[in-house]
C-alpha cells in the first residue's frame, strides 16, 4: 500500500491517507479522465517521496500534490498524443467545467470535487460490488491488491472489476457532478449504502479467520465523516456516522483475549470506547433535534440506547422495540425484523421473541438460526436449540462466529461444565 511507495518519509503515509481522495477528486475534474488522474496522482506522490525528505514537506501538501499531478497529466497527454484524443476530447467526464488548459497556475483542492467523486463511484447504474471497489480505490487510495484481499477475491478479479467499471463510466458519459436537490435522496442512498457495506465488512468480515478488519472500518468512518462535512444539512449522513461510531466503540469489547466473539449481553462495557460513544451521542442528539428520522438515524438511535446502558440488564428494551417498529415502517426489511424480534424477546420474554421470529423469512441467514437457538435454550428446548446452532455454524463464512456457535452448542450438552454447576 502507500507505505511501499513512500518509504523513507515518515509522515508521507499519513498525508497519502488524508489527501489521496481529495487530490484524485480534483485531478479527475481537471483532466476529465479517471485512469489519467490516477496515473498522474501516483506520479505526484512518487515525486513527493523523492523530494520531501530532503526539501521538507510543503505547507499545503494536498495543493502541491494536486498541482504536480495536473502538470504530470499534461505531460502524459503530450507523451501519448493518441491518448489526447481518446481521453481528453472524446471521453471527458466533466460537463460544466472548463476544459484542461495549459495555464499552469497552482490548483487547489476543491471540496465539492470529493462529493462529485463519491456520487460518481456510487452511481446507481453501477453494480454494488463495483461501487464499493471504486470508492475504496479512488477515495480511499487503496491498492487493487488490498481491496481484493479485503473482499477475498483474487487480485485479477478485482483488477478486472475496476477496469470494467471505469470503462462503463467512460462509455456511458456519466457526468462528474453533484446531483440536484430533487435527485439527492435517490442518489444519496447508494453512497450511504456503500459506506455502510465497507464498515460492515470491517466490523464482521463475511468470511475469513478474523472477526473484523479494522482498516476497512476506519476507512468507512473517514468517508462518513467526510460526507457529513460535505453535506452538513443532510441528516442521514449524520445518522450513518453516528451509527458507525457507536458500533465501532464496542469493538474492544466484542472479542476476548483469544480472539473469540463475546455477545453484546456479555461484553465488558468498561472496554467500550467512551470518546467514540460521546461523539456518536452528540450526533444522535443533533438528529433528534432536527426531527426528520431516516433509517440510519434510527439505527444510530438504537445503538445509542445500547451505549447508554451501564449493564446489559439496564437496557431500555421498550425504547429499542419502539425504534425498531419505526424503522420497520420506513424500511420493511427482514434483517430489521430479525433484530426487532431479539429486542421483543428481551422485553416480553422468549415466547414472544420466537413468535416474532416466526414472522421473519430469513432461513438462509446464520444469525436467524443463532437467534432461534438462543431463545430455544431459554425455553429449555435443548434438542431444537442444538439443531439451530448446527444450522447457524453451517451458514456462516466467518471462522470466529463458527467457533462461537460450536462453543454455545457444546455448553448445552450434558457433560459440559455448564451443567455441573450447583
Amino acid at each position: 500500500m502507500a507505505d511501499d511507495r513512500v518509504a523513507g518519509a515518515p509522515d508521507l503515509a499519513a498525508i497519502y491517507r488524508r489527501e489521496i481522495g481529495r487530490c484524485t477528486a480534483t485531478v479527475v475534474r481537471i483532466v476529465g479522465d479517471i485512469d489519467l488522474a490516477e496515473d498522474a496522482v501516483a506520479e505526484a506522490f512518487a515525486e513527493a517521496a523523492k523530494r520531501w525528505p530532503a526539501q521538507g514537506t510543503p505547507p499545503n501538501p494536498g495543493g502541491w500534490i494536486t498541482t504536480t499531478a495536473r502538470n504530470r497529466a499534461i505531460d502524459i497527454v503530450r507523451r501519448e498524443s493518441k491518448r489526447t484524443e481518446r481521453h481528453v476530447d472524446a471521453h471527458r467526464l466533466t460537463d460544466d467545467e472548463p476544459a484542461m488548459s495549459p495555464d499552469l497556475g497552482d490548483v487547489d483542492v476543491v471540496l465539492d470535487d470529493q462529493l462529485r467523486l463519491m456520487f460518481l463511484c456510487c452511481h446507481p447504474a453501477l453494480g454494488p460490488d463495483a461501487q464499493v471497489a471504486l470508492t475504496l480505490r479512488l477515495l480511499g487510495g487503496l491498492e487493487t491488491a488490498e481491496i481484493a484481499r479485503a473482499f477475498l477475491v483474487p487480485e485479477a478479479t478485482m483488477a478486472q472489476r475496476l477496469v470494467r467499471v471505469k470503462r462503463k463510466i467512460r462509455d456511458n458519459h456519466i457526468s462528474y457532478r453533484i446531483p440536484a436537490a430533487a435527485e439527492l435522496p435517490a442518489r444519496l442512498a447508494p453512497v450511504l449504502a456503500v459506506i455502510y457495506l465497507i464498515f460492515n465488512e470491517g466490523h464482521t468480515a463475511s468470511s475469513g479467520p478474523d472477526l473484523g478488519r479494522s482498516d476497512l472500518a476506519a476507512e468507512a468512518i473517514r468517508l462518513a465523516r467526510r460526507l457529513t462535512e460535505l453535506l452538513p444539512d443532510e441528516p442521514e449522513p449524520k445518522g450513518l456516522l453516528a451509527l458507525l461510531l457507536l458500533s465501532e466503540a464496542r469493538r474492544p469489547g466484542r472479542t476476548g483475549p483469544g480472539g473469540e466473539l463475546i455477545r453484546l449481553a456479555d461484553q465488558d462495557r468498561a472496554r467500550w470506547d467512551r470518546r467514540l460513544i460521546e461523539e456518536g451521542h452528540a450526533l444522535v442528539r443533533q438528529c433528534i433535534e432536527r426531527n426528520t428520522p431516516g433509517p440510519y438515524q434510527l439505527q444510530a438511535a438504537i445503538a445509542a440506547v445500547h451505549a447508554d446502558a451501564a449493564t446489559a440488564e439496564a437496557t431500555d428494551w421498550s425504547q429499542i422495540v419502539a425504534l425498531y417498529d419505526h424503522l420497520l415502517r420506513l424500511r420493511p426489511d427482514a434483517i430489521v425484523a430479525l433484530n426487532r424480534a431479539i429486542a421483543v424477546a428481551e422485553l416480553d420474554g422468549p415466547d414472544a421473541g420466537l413468535a416474532a421470529l416466526d414472522e421473519v423469512e430469513l432461513e438462509g441467514y446464520h444469525l436467524y438460526h443463532a437467534t432461534r437457538a438462543e431463545l430455544l435454550v431459554r425455553l429449555g428446548l435443548i434438542a431444537e436449540a442444538l439443531t439451530a446452532y448446527d444450522r447457524a455454524a453451517e451458514l456462516t463464512g466467518n471462522d470466529v462466529e463458527r467457533r462461537h456457535f460450536a462453543k454455545r452448542r457444546r455448553d448445552l450438552l450434558p457433560h459440559s461444565p455448564a451443567w455441573s454447576r450447583p
Binding site: 481518446r86 472524446a90 452511481h123 478486472q160 462509455d171 456511458n172 458519459h173 456519466i174 457526468s175
Partner: protein, 121 residues
C-alpha cells in the same frame, strides 16, 4: 453529443396483452417518441418483426451459409429500439424511465461508442 440505444427485450413468443391495454401502450410509446422529437433528442426508432422472421447469414471464405431464426438462442429477444442523443447517462436514464412507464416493460440503456471499438476487457 453522446448517443444511446434504448431497447426493449421481450419473450420471443409473447402472449399479447388485452386489446385496450395494447392500445394504451401503443399510445404511450407514440407520445414518448413525440416528446423525444420535441426535445431534439430523437435520432431513430424501430420496432422489429418477431424473432422467427430473422435469418442469420455467415460468409466464410467465399461460402455463404444461412440459418433460419434469430442469432441468439435466448428466450428474450430485442423487439424494438430508439436511438437518442443525450448530454450524459443521467439524461438518457430519465428518457428510459419515461419510456418504461409508457410501454410498461424494462428498457435497456446502452451507449453507442463515439469512436472505433477498443479491445474489451
Amino acid at each position: 453529443m453522446p448517443q444511446y440505444m434504448l431497447s426493449v427485450w421481450l419473450d420471443g413468443d409473447p402472449t399479447p396483452p388485452p386489446p385496450e391495454q395494447m392500445e394504451q401502450m401503443i399510445a404511450g410509446v407514440a407520445a414518448h417518441q413525440e416528446e423525444l422529437k420535441a426535445a431534439g433528442a430523437w435520432v431513430f426508432f424501430g420496432t422489429l418483426a418477431p424473432p422467427g422472421s430473422a435469418t442469420v447469414v455467415l460468409a466464410d471464405e467465399g461460402a455463404v451459409s444461412m440459418t433460419d431464426g434469430p442469432y441468439a438462442e435466448a428466450k428474450e429477444q430485442i423487439s424494438g429500439f430508439t436511438i437518442i442523443e443525450a448530454a450524459d447517462l443521467d439524461e438518457a436514464l430519465e428518457w428510459a424511465r419515461k419510456g418504461s412507464e409508457a410501454c410498461t416493460w424494462p428498457v435497456e440503456v446502452r451507449p453507442l461508442l463515439d469512436g472505433p471499438p477498443e479491445p474489451s476487457d
